[in-house]
Subunit: 414 residues, 2 copies
């Protein structure tokens, strides 16, 4: 049977599209994001429209098997991010080849971002891979926050991969190839897809609560802010410098409940106008929130328990994190409401796949969310049902693999 | 508090984008599909990139409440498909207003397609709304097919709505507004989101098995074929003429298992080449499959149990259906494998949201799937886990509501 090489096939498909001069060229499908670099892609990369995030448990006791898998994953990731199929292993039975569902689809700005969970270093008190001493102090066990309802089946994992792309099939495809390659070494623990609504250029996407998201976020192109708040510096073990810490939370939102709240209440809850995105008391979305402003009756313009007040750097000792959230939508599920009369029934299993990056979670997400989890007016509408904390190593240089500086510290090439 | 009219707000947002001359204009976000017409939109409409389908159970015993809801749903649907918010009921407590998360997002080619399940006519042997005599003979109870593992919680429903759009948030938003409006009359029973990979123009999307999907499908712009195979004619009750019957199946695919199969086996299973999409023995994707062709050894070129042979019109007394499938991806779930050693563990809960339209399901999906469910080689990889059969009324003329010809047959205006 005639069997084209996959690279040849890809080039044929892409070539046909290119010579056709189609509109697809303009819509970003054939735009690729660089994979190699000082930092991993997918952190400061402008958010793509879709994501597929997955956590894996390592099921091998052999360090070299983990390292081998990361080496193969890195090569596959670099190929996938160019829009090419995952390399196949035609001769062997280990991984028969790319599953093919993105042939012709283009790279669609795919990024793959890898993270290491605590279980890579120590699991059930066992140092499986001789890496326990390399566990960074910042890779803590997340505390139990007020209101947490994290399901074991949606939480944690020894390894983490997040694919982001402008095509949902491209994002899923990438993780699927990695899962196939990792068979016998890493088993998928949980996975979650997500999406962003993509408004007109220059406008921030609205989350499922109808509010603009990210108005006061750090900017990925602000390198000084990234160095200060996102990238790990000299304080971390050598293998994680230039990397970051990722906190992910799967946050279900009681949309039915929210949708019955008056606009005014919703705006007080966030501390922003719904339509314009302006902070209460401000005119424009980008106006800085004035946390000190008082109304004529002496009450604060932005309520004490409004979301943006409690999340603000000024309320948290200057803490800032880089948020990179997606919406998620898993249909409906049997859910117990969190408000009287605590009805149990079918409700949307939809909400926010909250993802943030920071230099140290102890002075980032943990510090901020300790306060939010106790006082945020939003809490009556949101429930954290899963997630994790992962140390993301720095980016790999060509010839290196993601995590090499952890597994083979003597071989550092970059 | 200043509260813009929603229409004014929309026009402001869209106007800003329009005058900006942004690339968004070219990418379809501000393209709308017509809502009013002889047929409902979303059937022959070229497939959008995202869908959110939902089924509802009616929880009222009063016919006029159902009719009122359908009237309000129709007005809301027409507004939403223009890219405008769902009309609000500012004065009342019934539905406080549009939830706002698509402000600025554009219509994104939104369509809303409504269907009526058997339960609208008779439920638990009760004729709740005096409509039992109007139940079309074609709206049968679907038989139990071989291999069916339909979960009650993902199956059936008295009413059905499918939103399709080029933005997943726009699709979900539309159904969410209808659910809010219907509160107390209709309760959501199940919901499912789906997506299509959008390859370069002129190429058919690949499904999650990596094969092109729809190569031999009916074409929505072939009006003769639509009249012959999709639209209900004089054989149906007056209220459903110009409508169609929708069969939906949520089909989980054992992707891990499939990904371990050699390319040759995959191609024998489908009866097509994976890369080109050509039928076995053919050269090009659009070549008609030659079901009579034999190999040198006397065996058929397209195997007896290949998917495209069993699904072909020639194998089913000329039966043809209009397929409009999406992929779905719900992460991972605890699933028992269907092949030895019947391992139980986490597996992808991903696959195909199969949707098809036909003039009569008894000579459409049921006839075809009776054969497929018994002999299709694909069956070892797919499991039908939910779905339904719904009668889709014809489109509404302006001033009419979807289903009016059923609820108020004397008032027919079109």
């Amino acid at each position: 049977m005639a069997r084209p090489t996959r690279r040849g096939l890809f080039l044929g498909v892409a070539g046909a599209a290119l010579t056709g001069g189609t509109p697809a060229l303009a819509d970003g499908k054939f735009v690729s994001e660089p994979f190699w670099g000082a930092h991993q892609a997918g952190i400061t990369t402008p958010a793509q429209a879709h994501t597929y995030a997955a956590a894996f448990d390592l099921v091998t006791g052999r360090r070299e098997q983990v390292a081998d898998m990361l080496r193969t994953w890195t090569a596959a990731a670099a190929s996938l991010c160019r829009g090419e199929p995952a390399p196949s292993d035609e001769g062997g039975a280990v991984h028969p080849g790319d599953s093919g569902e993105t042939l012709g689809a283009g790279p669609a700005r795919l990024t793959l971002t890898f993270g290491f969970g605590a279980g890579l270093f120590v699991k059930n008190n066992v140092d499986r891979y001789g890496l326990a001493a390399q566990r960074p102090p910042a890779l803590v066990d997340l505390p139990q926050f007020k209101g947490d309802e994290l399901a074991e089946a949606r939480t944690g994992g020894d390894l983490f991969v997040q694919a982001c792309a402008d095509d949902p099939q491209v994002a899923f495809h990438a993780v699927r190839q990695l899962a196939r390659i990792g068979r016998g070494v890493a088993e998928m623990r949980w996975a979650q897809s997500g999406f962003l609504s993509t408004p007109a250029p220059g406008q921030r996407p609205r989350n499922l609560m109808g509010f603009k998201d990210g108005s006061n976020n750090l900017r990925g192109d602000d390198t000084a802010a990234m160095d200060a708040f996102v990238w790990v510096g000299e304080e971390g073990p050598a293998w994680v410098r230039g990397g970051s810490y990722l906190v992910l939370r799967r946050i279900r939102i009681a949309l039915e409940h929210w949708d019955r709240m008056p606009l005014d209440f919703q705006e007080q809850t966030f501390g922003r106008r719904k339509y314009s995105g302006a902070p209460l008391g401000g005119e424009d979305e980008i106006d800085p929130p004035d946390l000190a402003a008082l109304r004529a009756d002496g009450e604060p313009v932005i309520p004490e328990s409004a979301h943006i007040r409690l999340a603000a750097a000024a309320s948290n000792g200057g803490a800032k994190i880089l948020r990179r959230p997606y919406g998620y939508n898993d249909g409906v599920a049997l859910i117990k409401e969190r408000w009287p009369p605590w009805r149990e029934g079918l409700a949307y299993d939809a909400g926010l796949l909250f993802v943030c990056y920071q230099r140290d979670p102890r002075t980032g997400f943990i510090r901020i969310f300790e306060r939010l989890s106790q006082h945020d007016m939003l809490n009556q509408f949101v429930t954290h049902t899963g997630g994790g904390l992962f140390a993301c190593p720095p980016g790999a240089a060509p010839g290196e693999y993601v995590g090499q500086r952890l597994f083979e510290p003597g071989k550092r090439t970059a």
